[in-house]
């Protein structure tokens, strides 16, 4: 069974390729898969007839108790036969229905097959959770099938409606399954059925499960989605809305019925909703002019009848119910297929426009007639046998059953009436309508429908054989009396009389409606469609209101909310309960106080500054103050890096700020200023409080006490911080340099407007262009007038010395303050000085490489170091020490992690180079070009 499901899935994957190869003919090939399903089921007929289920179990997720437990009893066997048989025939029909150049054909074949596979899985699942998975899969695939034409609004809407309704029901059903499964301690239905809870618990679970079944089978109040789903192509309607998907709900009710029929509120719910659906559907079918919609409402009505009969829950009604499932699948699929044929042959499905089709396409009329006879319940059709059985079974029940019987008979009257309406509408000669032109129908187009119609006749004629096949299911209901048997002829029974009555009544009703033009519409107390519409509108409104309230699209607002939460929750906790440490010290050395004061004053003034440059300088001062505090703390590496970073930052700011206005703009308006300050102060206070409490609460010995020893023995270096970076916590550093590469790429892509500008390295602007008269407060660009020759020469002289120093820092960093980060920044500053002194030509002269290449090389070296260690049998980024003697240099102690540091170095250099190229050189170029353009305009 599992293999069959897998074959469906695999074929679905390759189906689009097959369609591309052979066009619509590929559907014949694809049809072999459901055909094989049918054949497989038929080989197990003997086993099933003996009442033995075919089982198969594969463990799937043992932690969840989820296993692929499959079980095919009589009911499942019947469903497999229908799913496979009807599926194969509908696919064969589709090979003629669609055109080869239909753009959606490949997808159709794939989704149709996937749907068939899901349906197959559904009906053979023993595990309820597995059943649910397949259940939802059918929902999703049916969504795709109904939305076959995504360009049509109606088709999209119908697909969405079907999806929402059935998924919602499916979720409720899952809850019901879980309730039952948790109680039974197993999710296998064969075990759950033996171990049912009682009372309100069971009732709640059943109501939830019924919600799923009723919504799937389009039973009131969920009926509305099925007629909408007629937006799908006709083969889809024939399969999903006759044989397969809508039958899933029926299947579930039939599956659970034998175990739960006696429990409240199973029977009343099914009988009441089923009867309402039957009337509503039947009456609506009588009012349709579109043949397909007529059949759709007819299906709704029939599904209601099936729910009633299967919900009645006795041995005989169960037998009648499954017989009806079989009969309905056969005749309804046939009828849908014939509507598709009529649609293709005449170009319309409107029964007001069709006339004389029966005379022009007699074979089609015969096929449709056979199926219609079955639907109306005329002998010797399958429909007749099934309805006889139902009537007979209900006749022998109690008072309630008799009421139900009256309903069923009334429903049959409606069925006969709309069957006649269908036949009359599709095939009759209408005196006041011009005869329709009918294109010839190929036998291969009609054959699938004919096979189904004949199968309906065969089931009727072979009723006793069918009875023997289906009886094991009915016998699951324990019954004292000897049961009913399906047969064509039971003699002159009351049931036969009632059948005759129903046919006569139906014919009368049809004629009455034709002649009198009865226009009464059946209004239900409340309409599912209206409720659905309201729910959707309400959800939309709620979403809009909620989004409008919370998603204001304002960055300060979002930040404000986050920060206020920070103040209220952790801040409140801090105030409420923390033990505040009593012991504290003012500073480690008084110098810390001095540095701290500088930082505090600079930060406060920076927040108040109105000019960009002032603010930038004050932030820089705060940064240098922090560097001072690092030194006093005993962190020379940090201090070095902080000094360098602050310097590079100032260079960057200057490069950008020269383009921006001097003052900050006046937004936001001043009134919100106090609020911002209040939030700022509160957050600052909470953070300070946390720093105080957290430090004071610290008891444990730091993890880093062992670092110095490890640094020397494993890392081969004396500078613990550097060894931590390149060895102990090298993974972190790896992540961080990756971030740097991303940031650099981002900067470049924000500034460089065209990719080819990135290659602009060696171009020297023509002399005329450089004659910019605009005063610049910093010597930038290639404007010869603003350049200081002395500065340029001095920087050229110093440049190599600085670079050499940076390389010294890089390699000494393992044992003394320095390392890749600091060294890279130093080298970057050397480049910055060159750029500031001589503009972008000077920068290109100093670094005639693309920043991206440097960044990439750095990342390559860093990752390469790690991979090399891996290849040599160590762990990723594990370092090794090498001691060797080099002439001139003497004894060299080398650690492989130095390579990693070289990678870091290159990336930092690349970052700074990238910044200088983007924020410096490219910006200059853009502004010069604009200046030239402006001047050219003025000249014109």
């Amino acid at each position: 069974m599992l293999v069959l499901v897998a074959v469906h899935a695999l074929t679905a994957v390759i189906a689009p390729a097959l369609v591309r190869l052979w066009g619509r003919q590929a559907l014949y090939l694809v049809a072999l898969v459901p055909g094989a399903t049918l054949a497989w089921a038929l080989t197990h007929t003997a086993t099933v007839r003996s009442g033995e289920p075919v089982t198969e179990t594969v463990t799937w997720v043992p932690q969840l108790g989820l296993e692929l437990a499959l079980r095919m009893g009589t009911l499942s066997w019947l469903m497999v036969v229908l799913v496979g048989g009807v599926g194969a025939l509908v696919l064969a029909y589709s090979a003629r229905y669609f055109r080869s150049d239909d753009p959606g054909l490949g997808r159709f074949a794939a989704v149709f097959l996937a749907f068939a596979g899901a349906m197959l899985g559904l009906v053979v699942s023993d595990d309820l959770l597995l059943l649910y998975v397949f259940w939802e899969l059918t929902t999703v695939f049916s969504y795709l099938l109904i939305g076959y034409d995504p360009a049509k609004r109606a088709s999209r809407r119908a697909a969405m409606q079907a999806l929402l309704v059935t998924t919602l029901g499916g979720l409720a059903m899952l809850a019901g399954f879980v309730m039952l499964g948790q109680h039974a301690g197993s999710y296998r239905w064969s075990e759950v059925a033996e171990n049912l809870p009682g009372g309100g618990y069971l009732a709640a679970a059943l109501v939830l499960i019924l919600l799923g079944a009723l919504s799937k089978s389009a039973i009131f109040p969920f009926s509305f989605w099925l007629p909408g789903a007629m937006a799908a192509p006709t083969p889809v309607s024939a399969y999903l809305h006759a044989a397969a998907m809508v039958k899933a709900g029926i299947f579930l009710v039939a599956l659970m019925g034998p175990a739960v029929a006696e429990a409240t509120p199973w029977r009343p719910v099914l009988l009441v909703t089923g009867l309402i659906t039957m009337f509503f559907g039947g009456w609506s079918a009588l009012r349709q002019v579109d043949l397909k919609l007529l059949l759709a409402y007819g299906t709704v009505s029939q599904l209601g009848l099936l729910m009633v009969v299967l919900g009645a829950g006795t041995r005989d009604t169960a037998l009648a119910g499954v017989a009806m499932v079989l009969a309905h699948a056969l005749f309804k699929a046939t009828l849908f297929l014939t509507v598709g044929v009529i649609d293709h042959a005449t170009g319309t499905r409107d029964l007001r426009e069709l006339s004389g089709v029966g005379r022009r396409a007699p074979a089609l009329a015969v096929v449709a007639g056979l199926a219609a006879a079955s639907m109306a319940g005329l002998p010797p059709m399958a429909g007749f046998v099934a309805k006889e059985a139902a009537v007979e079974a209900l006749l022998h029940g109690g008072t309630a059953d008799l009421v139900v019987l009256a309903g069923v008979i009334l429903g049959s009257v409606l069925t006969v009436a709309y069957t006649l309406r269908y036949l009359w509408g599709a095939f009759a000669d209408k005196p006041d309508t011009p005869a329709t032109t009918v294109r010839p129908v190929s036998w291969s187009f009609l054959a699938p429908a004919a096979v189904l119609a004949l199968a309906g006749v065969a089931v009727g004629l072979l009723a006793p054989a069918v009875d023997r096949l289906l009886a094991p299911y009915a016998d699951l209901y324990r019954s004292a009396e000897p049961g009913y048997h399906l047969a064509l002829w039971h003699g002159l029974t009351p049931a036969l009389g009632l059948s005759v009555l129903a046919v006569a009544g139906g014919a009368g009703l049809f004629h009455l409606m034709r002649r009198e033009r009865v226009r009464a519409t059946l209004r239900l107390p409340f309409d599912g469609a209206a409720v659905y519409k309201k729910c959707i509108a309400l959800t939309d409104r709620l979403a809009v209101e909620l989004t409008g309230k919370t998603q204001r699209g304002s960055l300060p607002f979002y930040l404000g909310v986050i920060l206020v939460v920070l103040v209220v929750l952790p801040g409140g906790t801090l105030l409420a309960g923390s033990p505040w440490p009593q012991r504290f010290h003012l500073w480690d050395t008084p110098l810390q106080g001095v540095a701290g004061a500088v930082v505090v004053i600079a930060a406060v003034m920076a927040a108040r500054a109105l000019r960009r440059l002032t603010a930038m300088i004050l932030v820089g001062v705060a940064g240098y103050g922090i560097a001072l505090m690092f030194i006093l703390h005993g962190a020379p590496d940090l201090a070095l890096t902080q000094f360098l970073v602050e310097t590079v930052t100032i260079v960057m700011f200057v490069l950008v700020l020269r383009r921006l206005p001097v003052k900050f703009s006046e937004r936001p308006i001043r009134s919100s200023r106090r609020g911002r300050i209040a939030i700022g102060v509160a957050v600052g206070a909470v953070t300070a409080g946390m720093a105080y409490v957290a430090t004071g609460a610290r008891q444990a010995i730091p993890i880093s006490v062992g670092f110095p020893d490890e640094a020397v023995s494993y890392g081969g270096g004396k500078n613990v911080v550097n060894v931590t970076l390149v060895d102990i916590r090298a993974w972190d550093t790896m992540g961080e340099i990756a971030v740097l590469v991303v940031a650099a790429t981002g900067v470049a892509s924000l500034i460089f407007r065209r990719a080819r500008d990135l290659d602009r390295r060696g171009d020297i602007p023509g002399g005329g262009r450089a004659e910019s008269t605009r005063p610049r407060w910093l010597t930038t660009g290639a404007t010869a007038r603003a350049q200081s020759v002395i500065l340029q020469v001095v920087t050229r002289l110093l440049f190599h010395a600085i670079l050499l120093f940076s390389i010294y820092l890089l390699f000494s960093g393992h044992n003394a303050p320095g390392g890749g980060f600091a060294a890279g920044l130093v080298a970057g500053l050397a480049l910055a000085v060159r750029y500031l002194a001589g503009g972008r030509t000077e920068l290109n002269g100093a670094a005639p490489v693309d920043a991206g290449v440097v960044l990439g090389a750095g990342l390559f070296v860093a990752v390469g170091t790690g991979v090399a260690a891996l290849l040599l049998g160590g762990e990723f980024l594990q370092s090794a020490m090498l001691d060797f003697y080099v002439p001139v240099l003497g004894k060299v102690h080398f650690v492989t992690s130095a390579f990693f540091d070289v990678g870091v170095y290159l990336i930092v250099v690349g970052l700074v180079l990238d910044i200088l190229r983007s924020l410096g050189a490219e910006m200059d170029r853009q502004h010069e070009t604009e200046d030239v353009e402006v001047r050219e305009k003025e000249l014109v």
């Binding site: 701290g596 505090m629 700011f653 950008v656 700020l657 911002r676 953070t687």
Partner: protein
């Protein structure tokens, strides 16, 4: 461990100043807020470790060393702040170049939804009632309303 009050105060002030700037509209100010906040956070990390001599074996006895772990973390954080500063600066410049200012704008799509909420409408109301219309000509209308709210976003 006894808290160092100077650190606590400096952390508090840096965060307060940083947050105040962060809530501004001007991207340059936001960026300065980020830098100050970053410095505050770095110092906060530093308070988690003991102060002392430089963590270099040989130059400081081990028991007098400052805690190296927070330092390693802060070191990478400093450099990352540099990358982030560069990125935000580029962003501010780009914004100024395109719009003539470097302010953080309200999101246009969100403003559209707020407008809908004020008018008590749902998202689908615009094209409701077209029923089974198979063409999507109503889309042009929604484009127009998007353009209108874009203007509103600039003006507001």
């Amino acid at each position: 461990m006894s808290p160092n009050l100077t650190y606590v105060i400096v952390v508090g002030v840096l965060v307060a100043a940083g947050v105040t700037l962060l809530l501004e509209r001007s991207l340059t100010r936001v960026l300065m807020g980020v830098i100050l906040l970053g410095n505050g956070a770095n110092l906060l990390l530093l308070t988690g470790g003991r102060a002392g001599g430089a963590p270099i074996v040989g130059s400081t006895p081990q028991e007098e060393m400052s805690d190296p772990l927070p330092q390693a973390m802060i070191l990478t954080a400093i450099v990352i702040t540099l990358g982030m500063t560069a990125f935000l600066l580029a962003l501010a410049y780009r914004s100024w170049h395109l719009n003539g200012h470097d302010e953080v704008q309200d999101d246009v799509e969100d403003r559209r939804i707020m407008d809908l909420a004020e008018r008590d409408e749902g998202p689908g109301d615009a094209d409701a009632g077209t029923g089974d219309d198979d063409d999507d000509d109503t889309d042009t209308n929604s484009d127009r309303s998007l353009a209108a709210s874009t203007d509103a976003g600039r003006a507001g």
